[in-house]
Amino acid sequence: MCVAGTRWVQTELLAKYPKADLRVYAIWFNMFPGDARSKWPPSLLNDQRVIHRWDEGKVVGMWYGGHANDIRSQLSPGSSWNGDILWDAYLLYGSEARWDDAPTNLIHWGRTIVAGRETLRQDFERLYGPSR
């Protein structure tokens, strides 16, 4: 399912907004028993605006899991989340966002990516206009 959401981001967002000024941080970590760094699919998300990082300790997923209640009001319709480690999820921030104690200017987040994709698509339209 994570793969489906990732593919959607590549084909339906990044490919359709090739000139959008945007940075994407793809944070990869093990969640399923068969997951491993060696299973990372480099061709799935190959846009040049994407930075890929392997998070062996799941530190980012745990950090967001611990802060999920603080951002629950920005959860996209159709999404739901309860747990310790946030994964198969997106978080979209505006251009003025700054991270001191926590990132500011969160537009929406969603989990799963597939469940929140319509909100993400609409937010891209608001930021960048209609897709090509």
């Binding site: 959401g5 000024d21 945007l22 491993a36 760094r37 990082r53 300790g57 198969d88 997106y90 921030y93």
Partner: protein, 66 residues
Amino acid sequence: MKFRALVAAIGLWVAFGAIDARGPWDANQPIYAAPSLRDLKSVDELKTSFNQDRGKPRLVLLLSPT
């Protein structure tokens, strides 16, 4: 003489881009570096990158590889 002319013609053909290392079918496509995967050791590393990219919208994806 004919051989020299042929060599010169091929040289011009290459020089003007008719032959490309990527092949003529995608000669107009930009060459992109393959994605690379580096280790992330702490949340602070993401925080630093996040703040360096201020001025543009940012999308954080939390993913598992399968």
